[in-house]
Each structure stands twice: as C-alpha cells, then as structure tokens.
Assembly symmetry: C2
Homo-oligomer: 189 residues x 2
C-alpha cells in the first residue's frame, strides 16, 4: 500500500492555522534561505501526489498558479501545479487548478481506497481537518512537523478531538538556522 505523509508547519503551541484559519504567520519562517533550499529540493522533480481538504485546496489553488508564485518559488510552483491533487470535498465545483481530482464518498473509505491504488506516495499539506479525521484509522504513515518558534495562543490543532492517545516514533529531525525545527515521526503500527 502506498504511503500517506503529513507535512505541516506548527506553531510552538501546536497549531497549524491561527484562530482565523490563516497560515500566513509561518511565511516569515519559510522564507529563510536554508529552509527554502530544503523545501525546493523536496519539490524538485517530486513524483508524489497531494491530498487536500477543500479549505487548504482553495487557499493553495489561488496562489500557486499565479505569476507571483512562479516568480518567487519557480521550482515549488512547477511541482505544485504539475503534481496530481486529490481533493476531499462535498462540492464538485471549481476544481480548476491543474491536475485536480475530486475524491468522493466517506473520508475513511475514500482515503483507504486511494492508498490501495497503485501510485506514488501521497502528502497532506497543512489540511489539519483531514488529519484529525483519519489519524486514528492507521491511514497516516508519517508526520513531518515544522515547528516554528512562535506562540499563537490559540488556533486550529490537527489532532484536536482525537479520542485515544496516539504514540508515534521519531525517525528524523533537522534544525534550521532560523530556529525552525523539522520533527519527523513514523506512525507505530
């Protein structure tokens, strides 16, 4: 079965989005030269596929196809626009971003079905609402959390409401010069 990984910025108090749902607080930290090189290298030639909830999809679809994105982050923009995007949404409208595919049905079955199809590994970018719905169903193989040295005081937590403790295993870490820390955890099965 192909793997599903989560890649998300999180504030020091554990939020992937602030109270208003915005992720712009992470921008200052992702503009760091060393971090940009890391993210660019990840994106370059990536053959993976992406899994989005509707809110994050709309946010990204309004940015990555723009000339501004192509100028600011050409390698990442090329990858984001090219890669296959699966979108969990109750509404089929407006999936106008290149290579976007609506994922129908109940979320657990839909994601399990997707994983059972042949294909490359998949990544969830920041769609915390998906994570909290599927994390305890053995569907996520890895959590790559980019811990930002900023406290928000509240916001959206991708694990909020999970009803059982979820033990994971640290398999990689990296500290960037701007104080951002990548902590990568494998699910324990």
């Amino acid at each position: 079965m192909r793997k599903l990984k989560v890649f998300s910025f999180v504030s020091l108090d554990g939020c992937y989005a602030d109270r208003s749902g915005s992720m712009t607080w992470a921008h200052d930290y992702s503009r760091d030269e060393e971090f940009t090189a890391f993210a660019t290298e990840n994106a370059r030639g990536s053959q993976g596929e992406l899994l989005f909830g509707r809110v994050t999809y709309d946010m990204m679809a309004s940015y990555w196809p723009t000339e501004m994105a192509k100028t600011n982050s050409p390698v990442t923009a090329e990858a984001m626009n090219r890669m296959k995007k699966h979108v969990l949404s109750r509404s089929p409208r407006g999936l106008t971003w290149n290579n976007s595919h609506l994922l129908r049905g109940e979320i657990i079955d839909a994601v399990r079905g997707l994983k059972q199809q042949p294909g490359p590994d998949m990544m969830i970018f920041g769609s915390g609402s998906i994570v909290k719905q599927i994390a305890t169903h053995n569907l996520i193989d890895e959590y790559q959390l980019i811990v930002v040295p900023l406290v928000l005081g509240g916001g959206h937590n991708m694990f909020e409401g999970i009803q059982q403790n979820l033990a994971v295993r640290l398999n990689h870490h990296r500290v960037f010069s701007n104080g951002v820390v990548l902590l990568s955890y494998a699910a324990q099965v």
Copy 2:
C-alpha cells in the same frame, strides 16, 4: 534581575496535561535511561528555586517526600525536597512540603517582585496555568520544552488564550534515544 525558566513535558499536540489534568502520560518517557541521566544531572546540587501553581504543587508535594520517590529517584528527590519552593495560591493552607513559601498578591506583581529579589534563577515545573498568565508580561526568560512522541488529542495548553503572538528564539536542542526532544527557547526582548 534573576531569570525565570519554564521546564515542561509537552505532548506532540502541545499539551502539558491531559484532559483530566494528569501528567502521568509523560512518565513512560521520563523513565528512559538517557533522559533520567539528563534530569538527574540537572537536579544534582541545583541551587535554583521553584515556582509552582497550587495544583502542580499539591501533585508534587504528595510524591517527592515519599519513600518511593527517594528510592526511585534519590538525587532528584533530594533536590526537589531541599530547593526553595514559591507557591502561588489563594489559600495559605497545607504548604507542608519542606521549604515552601506562599506567594501572596496579584500574580504579575508577585512574580515580578520575586524576580527582583536577589537569589538564584527560578524554574516553573509544569504549572501551565501560571505560564499562560505571565508569558506576555516579559517575566519568562526561557522555555525548555520536552516534546514527547505522543498525541493526546486534547488537554491543557500552557499558552492557550494568550492574546498576542509571542516570538521566541531557539537556543538549544537535544534528541534523546527514546524519541523525546528537548527544545529550549529564549524569550525575545
């Protein structure tokens, strides 16, 4: 002015205590040999003072003076029982643990007054309710967070309700063999 540091276990989703207020979920991780050596070395001969909220004080006062604590963790128990303990509490009753001192008055003024007194640096152990009340008042100099590879799905967050973003600076990190990660941050003043 002497320094005030926070030392706390936090779950991967940012909680210092679970929904019921318990911190026992961290015990399995703190029993690791390498981590125990680190904690013991910190405690050995420590001249610091401790600052507690009432709930954490009562929890620790019921454990560290016991024979079980002295047997399981002799060095840490000696330090915890010996060190000066300041307790923020509305009730003066029951500060029976050795070297405990009631801290009277409004919390911000009380902590500021304590910092202005001559003396060694002070540490807050796990009293997240204090942290959230004073974090934005320039009273905390350092956050030492022990990130445990366990998701709780909810609980008490020491930064919850802080009304402004709080940027901090990573000044130290250490990864332990059991996957626990120490992330130490200095306040940005």
